[in-house]
């Protein structure tokens, strides 16, 4: 009997080793990474005590592999190869090990995982993530050598306690995209006030044109436009509205301005495609390009779609008019590069930051590819953007505002996106307006972006 047991155990062991062997074929690099991650996590405490390496961007003598977590929008996917190529040219010793996930649904879960076990060396998220993660103490300050190469306006909202924790690489502009040709033909001027806008809407309806293109099937789009409205009708009057909201001084149920912002959603809903709750963004953008709608409250992410469908589509952008007629165009810092405070390779990280901020060709390539606005000083992208002339005009007049003022006070995940779901339910007639407002108020505890 014993013999048989022994033989079985032997068999099992063999099977196990066989299995390990199978995994082993490609597991060699993987195992190495796992080990590296572990050591990084374990070395957290001592690493923090060491003086932070000077940001000289001295190329490492030995081969270094940095782990990178990139939360990307679809428009960003692919820039990792461009960065790899540029890095290989200047610092061939440094290899980036990319983990690219969707910012929308996967980035934060991944970060949660890593917070339990040790964060990657480089984290690429959006501007608004800097507030969340810097408050957890896991980020390193970015050396001024690199942040100096970034526009001052972009650094503002990633600065906490006087330190800059994120390198903002590009930005999106948000507002109302409009069909320039259609506006010319119908003699519409850029609306400054709600009355102006209403006049255009009325004229559209009279002529059988759908005023707004929208794709409310994507709940995020409702959340996005609501924050645009909030910026110009709420935060412009009270830049600390979010903090006051948490302090109990203001609320959605009592603040008429905030309610107006929610009501703008209804204005759009009443003047858009009847199938908006079934219409995906790409299809919606196609309708806009084909002249089925005159305007679309959106952001730069639509440009890629517009031009893909028709490279000659002529469009402009203006801020959604507020009640006081002084709306500003909204700009959103997009790609933001953060670095881990527990890394063992600060030198190598600085080399990467150096490439990102000094390689003009790379920058132009990325801006052209993502169709976004540059945040690096002195870099001009070459892609055609019919709305650029409008952006330049608003920028020159100082009529531009960083949406992270709002996003840092009222966090996206768990607050803005949940409110958007309520707004959708209200538009669908499943919820009363009062309930929708009350639901937002009830979420006050989840509204802060910092965890402390």
């Amino acid at each position: 009997m014993k013999k048989k047991l022994l033989s079985l155990m032997l068999g099992t062991t063999m099977a196990a080793s066989l299995l390990a062997g199978c995994g082993g074929t490609a597991a060699a690099p993987a195992a190495g990474n796992a080990a590296a991650e572990t050591s990084a996590a374990e070395a957290e405490a001592p690493a923090a005590e060491e003086p932070v390496a000077e940001a000289t961007a001295a190329a490492p003598d030995e081969a270094v592999t940095l782990t990178v977590l990139a939360g990307q929008s679809t428009t960003d996917a692919g820039i990792e190869d461009m960065i790899d190529a540029a890095l290989a040219e200047k610092y061939p010793n440094i290899t980036l090990e990319w983990e690219c996930v969707g910012w929308d649904g996967e980035f934060h879960p991944k970060m949660q995982q890593y917070l339990q076990t040790g964060v990657p060396d480089i984290i690429i998220g959006k501007g608004q993530d800097v507030a969340t993660y810097s408050s957890l103490g896991i980020l390193n300050e970015i050396d001024s050598t690199y942040t100096d190469r970034v526009l001052d306006a972009a650094n503002e909202n990633v600065t906490f306690d006087g330190k800059i924790y994120g390198l903002v690489y590009n930005a999106l502009y948000q507002g109302v995209y409009y069909n320039r040709e259609m506006f010319k033909e119908n003699g519409w001027d850029i609306p400054k006030t709600q009355e102006d806008l209403q006049a255009i809407i009325d004229d559209c309806n009279a002529k059988g044109i759908t005023p707004f293109a929208s794709h409310m099937v994507d709940t995020w789009s409702i959340g996005n436009v609501t924050m645009q409205f909030m910026m110009n009708d709420v935060f412009n009057k009270n830049p600390k509205w979010g903090d006051d909201f948490r302090a109990g001084k203001v609320s959605f149920s009592e603040d008429a301005d905030a309610q107006t912002c929610y009501q703008y959603n209804k204005l759009i809903y009443d003047n858009t495609f009847p199938e908006t709750f079934s219409l995906e963004q790409t299809d919606c953008d196609a309708k806009m390009v084909l002249g089925e709608a005159a305007m679309k409250v959106s952001g730069s992410w639509s440009i890629q779609n517009f031009l893909d469908i028709d490279e000659n589509f002529d469009f402009g952008i203006f801020p959604f008019p507020n009640q006081t007629g002084d709306s500003k165009l909204i700009f959103e810092p997009n790609i933001a590069i953060m670095t881990s405070s527990s890394t063992e390779h600060q030198d190598a990280i600085n080399c990467v930051l150096d490439v990102l901020t000094s390689d003009q060709d790379l920058a132009v390539e990325i801006y052209d590819y993502t169709k976004t606005a540059p945040m690096l000083k002195g870099v001009t992208p070459t892609y055609p953007n019919p709305s650029q002339q409008d952006i330049d005009k608003y920028a020159a007049d100082g009529m531009v505002v960083d949406v992270n003022l709002g996003n840092n006070q009222l966090v996206w995940g768990g607050f803005q996106d949940e409110n958007a779901a309520d707004i959708a339910a209200w538009l669908q007639g499943d919820e009363t307006f009062e309930d929708c407002l009350a639901a937002s108020d009830a979420r006050v505890d989840a509204s802060s972006s910092s965890t402390n």
Binding site: P29, T38, E97, Q113, D218, T282
Partner: protein, 291 residues
């Protein structure tokens, strides 16, 4: 085919089913239904050959002006097919083999032993069918990380086994009552140990149930999204579903490519299963029909 005739034989000898008016009506109804069922698949193929402009400017039902393999080329590159396909295949194959082996053993012991521990084990495993691991992903990740299972091939396989074992034990245990005990007893009287009895006598009898288990779990694992995205994040370890999902996230502007990617990802498993259909249905019978 063989299998079918074997079952039908006695019946066909007595009264072969006649093709009556009722049968014709059924035939027509089923044909209509079959066409409806094929419609989404037609759409996927149709879109996968269209150019982006055709997508917006022509009706969804019109055929593409020419067969565009451009989307397939793009999808092929975007999916990194040689890597992801191999990964998915290796994870699936190894997981189901281990599952079949392990579940057969466990279910047999549970079915044959009346001890308290075994009764408890059965219930214990059953509970697992109902636990939505989707809701437990953070603790699952933490455990995996502590045991150095994340970002390894054996780690993800371990998780597939752990999450699939409940169903396997359930299926195998219900099958076990059809396995005659006489042979086992005879083997035991001959002095065979439990292990030897299992390998010599029981295992061969379990083959049909194992086939069912393997087939049913293959789907699950091949199509799994959550565990794969949780446990393997390195590019060289990713699976097909994880990569394909990234092709249709919310701001995708390129769903002709996504459609081509769907075709590419489904085709291998469809061909595999359709060619093994005979065995597949045989396996299903075992699971569903007792005695």
């Amino acid at each position: 085919m063989k299998f079918k005739t074997k079952v039908k034989k006695p019946e066909e000898q007595i009264t072969p089913k006649k093709y009556t008016g009722g049968t014709l009506a059924t035939q027509i109804v089923m044909t209509v239904l079959a066409i409806l069922f094929l419609l989404p698949i037609f759409m996927v193929f149709n879109y996968s050959f269209k150019t982006k402009k055709e997508l917006y400017l022509t009706s969804a039902l019109t055929l593409p002006s020419s067969l565009q393999f451009e989307n397939y080329k793009k999808a092929f590159v975007k999916l990194d097919l040689s890597t992801t396909f191999t990964n998915t295949f290796v994870y699936t194959a190894l997981s189901v083999l281990i599952l079949a082996f392990l579940c057969g053993m466990t279910a047999w012991a549970i079915a044959r032993c009346k001890g308290k521990f075994f009764k408890f084990s059965y219930i214990y495993f059953l509970v697992g069918i109902l636990i939505p691991y989707q809701a437990l992903f953070l603790p699952i990740y933490i455990i995996g990380y502590r045991l150095h299972l994340t970002n390894t091939r054996y780690g993800i396989i371990f998780m597939y086994v752990a999450t699939g074992i409940s169903f396997g034990v359930f299926l195998m245990t219900s099958f076990m009552s059809t396995v005659p005990t006489e042979l086992e007893e005879a083997a035991r009287i001959d002095g065979c140990s439990v292990f030897k009895t299992y390998f010599r006598v029981v295992l061969p009898l379990l083959k049909p149930a194992m086939a069912t288990l393997i087939i049913m779990q293959s789907f699950q694992i091949w199509n799994d999204y959550l565990l794969a995205s949780l446990y393997v994040s390195k590019k060289n370890l990713k699976t097909l579903t994880v990569v394909i999902q990234s092709l249709f996230s919310s701001q995708t502007s390129d769903y002709t490519t996504a459609m081509a990617a769907i075709v590419i990802s489904v085709l291998p498993i469809a061909v595999l299963f359709l060619s093994l259909q005979k065995y597949f249905i045989k396996g299903m019978t075992v699971g569903a029909v007792k005695g």
